[in-house]
Structures are given as structure tokens and as C-alpha cells.
């Protein structure tokens, strides 16, 4: 009796220990969001208060209005949106298309090419971005949307890999039947495989949209400050004429910038998980 009771107690103690740990980490992980929100509601006086004012009093909701007006927030948001929609749509279609090729077709050099895809997965854009930018500026593509169209059209190594894994797993019969009916591979892809891949398409769209919405160096280099995206404008736009950052507006602007991404995530969580799980990165 005794030992069972202590055993149960120990299990219960361990469980509450786990919960305490989880809640502790959760508090740590969410506190930055809380501080962002708090700062966004501070008045200018409260910002400069010393020692730190933990809760703004009163809530300066008008900061959100001011953040929209102090710089052309909505204009920059539109730029972000246009760029993100263009790049994510093109990138998704192109990656699915290329992924299908790697999954279902054969040709000389395929293994080598796929090896290169995998290698570029490890070569993120940052290092090649500077010379790419220099070329774009030579040929007059700075301040246009073409760079994002081109990046979109050439697909993303990660998404190509993801689609390839998905298409490899689909049964052969789907293809066979269509071929016997006289379908070419283009029709097979567009009419049969692509519609099958709806969950993957959604995952890819969401992921690439989020990536593009978050891009910083690309717009910083490629777009001038009145045409740039929200990411850059947030870091550079909320300044006094003397060049001092206006922290409550930066916080309010950041909140509005982050919100769409979080809402998208909370609503479409399962697709994010699909992105991590089905990519089969193992």
C-alpha cells in the first residue's frame, strides 16, 4: 500500500514539476510579446519614466493611429503584401512543378542536380544576396518587383524538396492510368498531381508568404526608402526629425506588422506542422 501511494505521489509530483517547467518556459517565451504590447501603449512620458513603468497608465491606444500616420504604414504594408503574394505564389507553383520532375521523371544528371538542390538548402540567400543585388542594380532592376518574380519562379530548395517527398509517395497507378489514356506529363502534373497536393500547396504558400513578409536585407538593398516594405520601414521610419527612434510607435507598428503572421499561424497551424513533419528532414 505504502509504496503504491508514494509511487503515485511521486508520479503526481513529477507531473506538477513538468507543468511548473512548462509554465515557466511559456512565461519566458511570451514575455517579449507582452513587453511589445505594453510599450505600444505607453505615452511618451511613460516611456522616459525612471524607474521603469511596468504598466502604462493610461493606455495610449492612440499610438496605433499615430503609427499608421507618422509614416505611410499602409503604403509600406501594401508593398510587403504585393511582394509576399507574388513571391509565394510563384515560388509555390514553381517548387511543386520542379519537385514533381524530381519525383516522377528521369534524366541524365538527375542525382547530381538533386544533390545541388540539397546543397543549396544549406546555402541561404544571405551570402549570394550582395553580388545578386550588385547585378540587379547594374541592369536596372533595383526599385522594381522583378527580383521577387525571379526568385519566385526559380523556386525554393526547401519547398522543392518538400514537394518531391510528397509526390514520390503518391501511388504509381495514378500516373499509369493517365498515361494509358494518352496524357502527357504536363497534363498529369496539372490535372492529377497538383490538385492532389492541396495540403502541400497550402503549406508551401503559407511558409513562403511568411518568409517573404519577414525578409529584411532584400528590400533594404533593393528598394529605396519610399518604396520599401514594412520590415525595413519599421526599423527606419519611426524617428524624430533629430533621428531618435520613437519607441512606442515602433512597438505599435511592430505589433501590427507581426499580427497577420500570428493570426495566419494560429488559424492554419496544421499546415506549419505539416511543413516540418512531411518535409522528412531526416
Amino acid at each position: 500500500m505504502m509504496s503504491i501511494a508514494t509511487g503515485r505521489n511521486r508520479a503526481r509530483a513529477r507531473k506538477s514539476g513538468t507543468y511548473a517547467l512548462l509554465i515557466g518556459i511559456a512565461a519566458l517565451f511570451t514575455s517579449p510579446f507582452a513587453w511589445l504590447l505594453i510599450t505600444s501603449l505607453k505615452t511618451e512620458r511613460s516611456l522616459g519614466a525612471f524607474p521603469v513603468e511596468w504598466l502604462p497608465e493610461p493606455f495610449a491606444w492612440e499610438n496605433y493611429r499615430a503609427a499608421l500616420d507618422y509614416m505611410p504604414f499602409l503604403g509600406h504594408a501594401q508593398n510587403s503584401l504585393v511582394i509576399a503574394v507574388i513571391q509565394s505564389t510563384l515560388m509555390t507553383l514553381s517548387s511543386a512543378y520542379v519537385g514533381f520532375g524530381f519525383a516522377r521523371l528521369r534524366g541524365r544528371g538527375k542525382n547530381l542536380m538533386f544533390g545541388v538542390v540539397m546543397a543549396t538548402l544549406m546555402l541561404p540567400h544571405v551570402a549570394t544576396l550582395i553580388p545578386t543585388y550588385l547585378i540587379f542594380s547594374k541592369v536596372g532592376l533595383v526599385n522594381t518587383l522583378w527580383p521577387w518574380v525571379m526568385w519566385g519562379l526559380s523556386g525554393s530548395a526547401f519547398l522543392i524538396f518538400m514537394f518531391r517527398q510528397y509526390f514520390v509517395g503518391l501511388p504509381i497507378e495514378m500516373e499509369e492510368a493517365a498515361i494509358l489514356d494518352g496524357c502527357g506529363y504536363f497534363r498529369i502534373f496539372f490535372k492529377i498531381f497538383l490538385p492532389q497536393a492541396k495540403p502541400m500547396l497550402a503549406t508551401s504558400l503559407i511558409l513562403s508568404f511568411t518568409w517573404t513578409w519577414s525578409e529584411f536585407l532584400q528590400p533594404l538593398l533593393l528598394l529605396s526608402s519610399d518604396r520599401t516594405t514594412l520590415a525595413v520601414a519599421l526599423a527606419t521610419g519611426y524617428q524624430t526629425p533629430q533621428g531618435a527612434p520613437i519607441n512606442n510607435l515602433i512597438a505599435a507598428g511592430s505589433t501590427m506588422y507581426v499580427l497577420p503572421v500570428i493570426v495566419l499561424f494560429v488559424l492554419l497551424q496544421r499546415f506549419y506542422q505539416a511543413g516540418s513533419a512531411t518535409s522528412g528532414l531526416k
Binding site: 507543468y19 517547467l21 512548462l22 518556459i25 511559456a26 517565451f29 511570451t30 517579449p32 510579446f33 525612471f50 524607474p51 521603469v52 511596468w54 512543378y97 520542379v98 520532375g101 524530381f102 519525383a103 521523371l105 528521369r106 534524366g107 542536380m113 538533386f114 544533390g115 545541388v116 540539397m118 544549406m122 546555402l123 541561404p124 544571405v126 551570402a127 549570394t128 553580388p131 550588385l134 525571379m150 526568385w151 519562379l153 526559380s154 514520390v168 509517395g169 499509369e176 506529363y185 504536363f186 502541400m200 519577414s214 529584411f216 526599423a235 524617428q239 533621428g243 531618435a244 519607441n247 512597438a251 511592430s254 506588422y257 503572421v261 500570428i262 499561424f265 513533419a277 528532414l281 531526416k282
Partner: protein
Amino acid sequence: MSVQTEARPVAVAAAPKPPPRKRWSRYRSRTFYAFVAPWLIGFLALTVVPMLYALRMSFTNTNGISDKARWVGIDNYVEALHDADVLHSLYRTGLFTLTVVPLTVLGSVLLALLVNQPIRGKGFFRTLFYLPAIVPGVAAALTWKLIFDKDAGPANGVMELLGLDPVTWLQDPAVSYVLLSLMLWGIGGGMLVSLAGLQDIPKELLEAARVDGAGKLRVFWHVTVPLLSPILLFQVVTGVINALQIIAQPMLLAPSAGGVVSAAKVSPDTNMYMVHVYAQYFTFGRWGYGSALLWLLFVVVLVITFLVMRLGRRVVFYNVDPDSQGEKG
């Protein structure tokens, strides 16, 4: 992950073979090229050509504007290897990589283990832990700047409550830790990948081990870790390569007076390699020298990538189970 590449062609090989074979295979190979063309063209135009362009510039003294640039041979490379600032930034980048990669990989696995337990509300916690990973880098860095503000930030507020002296967080040497904590905030992404790996481990395997009398730790070490190794390797490699190229976060944490995001304002302790390269181009107008520095990094990354792809096959344990392939997705 490369092994799957090797293992998967089975499915492709089993594709339909309607007659006549020769024409069909020619058709299929032509079609293959048509399908991979967008990627191939993009790869050549947007990766290979820029890299070669940088290579060419690295042997000149160009500033990108003047038409009087000339060849300088390997001068830029020689200078780079003797430049105290370059060596310093290399040292800081190495130190950062060696700290941030183990911490994030270990952290993400531990977090994954924690939320993989059969407890109530684990979905909620997973969501919460993952959330920071999707916050755009700019917003995260700006938030960090608010938190670690010398006067108005809660970090010093807490110090004050504890009766400690305030710290100038965004300066050397504290700024290194601030940068580190910023990176750790985003380990939810790694957690999700590790979680997917954990859930792929067959339950029977774990139970069998336990029935054999292995303790929890032993099971973890001898069953879980080997099965997780491909994922761990992937995280380490991408972690290393990303850490070597870190640039935006140090720049955003630096003083931004005048609304200019400038690489030259980054303090020495977080003056990472790419930050230094960026400054050569955009602060000093030394495109040739910057290109040489860039190529040194390319070589390092290419070598690492190559080694990993070679080594990965031998060191890491892969669960190649043809039967389980179909159900994935």
C-alpha cells in the same frame, strides 16, 4: 537526409513502362528537363552567376561606380588574411557559432521531449513555444532592443528590483548575450522538427527496450538519440551555416541613430563576419575587397556542405524503411 535521396529512386524506377520503351524514355527525359528548368535556370542566374561575378570583382579594386577599376591579382585575398579586423570578426563569428549551435539544438530537442509527453494541454504549449519562431526577424530584434534598453527596458527594471546595478545591455560585452538570447527565443522551429522526428520513432522499439530492462536514460541514449541523429545532424549543419552568415540581427541591435541601419555601427563583439563584409561594400565602397571576403566564406561553407554530405552517410543512422514511405505526407 541525403540517404533518402539515395533510397527513394526505387519508387521512380517502378514507374510505368508502356511501349515503345526507347521513345518513351527519351520523351520522359526531355520532360524531366522541362520540369526542372525553372530551378536550373534560377540556380544558374541567381546563384552561380552572382558568385562568379563576385569572384571576378574580388581580383579588382572596383567600387562599383567608377569605370577605372583594374586587376589587382590576389591582393585582396592577401590583405584579408592580414587584416586584424577580419581576423577579429572571424574569431567572434566562430565563438558565436560554437555557442549558439549547441545551445539551440540541445534546447530544441529538450523542448521537444518536454512537449512530447502525454500531458494535457501539450498542443497549447507547442503552439506557444513555436510562436516566436514565426515572428519576423526585424520585429524580434526591435522587441529585444526595447527589452534591453538601458533606461526604459524591463531587463534593467528587474536588475533594479533585485538591487543590482543596471547594465548597458546593447554594448560590449553584454550585447553578445543579448544576441544569444534573441537566437534562443526562436528555437520553436527546431523544436517542431525534433518533435516530428520523435514521433517517427516506433513506439514498439521504445517499449521493447524498456521491457529488456533499460532505464529511461539508457533508452534515450541508445534508442532515441540514434534514431534522431539525422535530424540532429541537419539542425547542426543548417545551424552552423546560418550562424556563420548572421548579419541582420547584429545590425538591428546596433545603435540606429538617424534611422540608418548601418553595419559600421555594430560593436566589435557582435561584428560578425558578414557584418564586416557588408560594411566593406556599403560603408567603405570597397567592392573588390568585400568580394574577396565573401569568397573566403563561400569556400568555407562549400567545404562544410561537402564534408557533411560525405560524412553524413557514414556517421548517422538512417531509418530506411521502404514500407513506411508510402504513408508519409
